[in-house]
Amino acid sequence: MRPNSIIYATIATLTLAACGGEQPQQDTLTLPAVDSTATLRAEHTKNIFHNIPSPMETAGLLKKAGAEYDKNILNDVKNVDNYTAASRQALNLGIYGADLSYASVFNNTQESMLYTSCAQKLAKKLDVTNAFNEEVVGRLEKNRNNRDSLLSIISETYWHVDAYLKENQRDNISALMIAGGWMEGLYIACQVTKVHDTPELRQRIAEQRLPLTDLIELVETYSPDDAAVASVLKDLKQLDSLFADVTVPTGNSTVTEENGVTTIGGTAPQAALTDAQLKSITEAVATIRASYIN
């Protein structure tokens, strides 16, 4: 490649990277093979992703299980200006996102708009305005009375925030945001169960043992290089120890067809929590969550 070609290619690449906006439709790259290809392949042979269920799915499950809406358990919107460190901003972007999902799933438009504003403020502080900007807020405002559209826009926005962080090698910030969202989902579940204690709600809390394992593995990836992530990992491991005796179904799945729907079943009973387990998890998650929001 001639020097001028390198200069032009570099300028074009840097411009694209700096813009960070919607990229053109070209979605594959063809790279010239280099001597290090074999090494690179060996390094990337196994990519392991950890997919944590979204706070919106958790909120929907709580609603189905009979939970009621309580705005008093959510993070105060006034706290949003208190978060100055990037790690706290990321955790609380996840927390406000979960609050936004909870308010929206339960169709509380007024609070949805307040939490949208908080989440957008934190996204701006984290320099993720490319994915969560005034245009998104405008779309949410416009669709405030259309629950399905509102939920879709929220999901899409958080998906773009997560993607934007990952494509800019800010995976540690993404991990903190996901951890904050999961923690808030568990906190909300425990708080609503205090008022409306049913086997279904206990089951949904008990089942959090499964995504917690994935979340720990995700956060562990970044903990050696980031003190804030290491601190969150410690919190997650503390919670994991409280879930240690919670029974959750594993393996021996069967696949059947019921009314045209493929069903993956198992013989194991549904997950459940004892009073003591519920109490210890509720207390621990409240303490950890308080340390994130205050």
Binding site: Q23, N47, N51, S155, V248, T262, I264, G266
Partner: protein, 144 residues
């Protein structure tokens, strides 16, 4: 001039991942997301640029009573990506391969459980000297 060229070449290599990942997001948004309707999709971005011969896995939790759509969406340049859904004991519950390719699987689970998706990009049999890289996205959607 030589130093400038070297610096720019280094910057080019440093910026390349961000550009290629942004293209992956664009691919997932434009080519995969529309096929998720009417399912609400999970907010976690699971997509990567993979080359022929590479494989990956995603661990997922599925809740009882929910209906799900699981989609493995790969750029055609990679050919047919083989993928398999397994339970915690490694038992195969669904498989898509070159003989019977499918880009998605709709199902529900009777008991909440963790399942794993394994996927593999077929090796490049043509043996040309260009390393092809394409986006593979994994999307999970659920119905309320």
């Amino acid at each position: 001039m030589k130093h400038i060229t070297t610096i720019l070449a280094v910057l080019f290599l440093l910026a390349l991942p961000a550009v290629s990942n942004a293209q992956c997001r664009s691919f997932a948004k434009n080519k995969c997301m529309p096929s998720m309707a009417p399912y609400k999709f999970n907010e976690t971005f699971n997509a990567a640029q993979l080359a022929p011969g590479e494989e990956a896995q995603v661990d997922l939790t599925f809740y009882s009573g929910q209906e799900y759509r699981l989609m493995v969406c790969a750029h055609p340049i990679l050919g047919t990506v083989n993928w398999q859904l397994q339970d915690a004991s490694g038992k195969s519950l669904f498989e898509s391969n070159a003989d019977a390719p499918k880009d998605h699987f709709d199902f529900k689970v009777a008991t909440t459980q963790k399942l794993t998706v394994h996927f593999a990009v077929p090796a490049d049999k043509a043996g040309n000297n260009m390393l092809k890289v394409g986006c593979v996205g994994i999307l999970v959607g659920y119905k309320e």
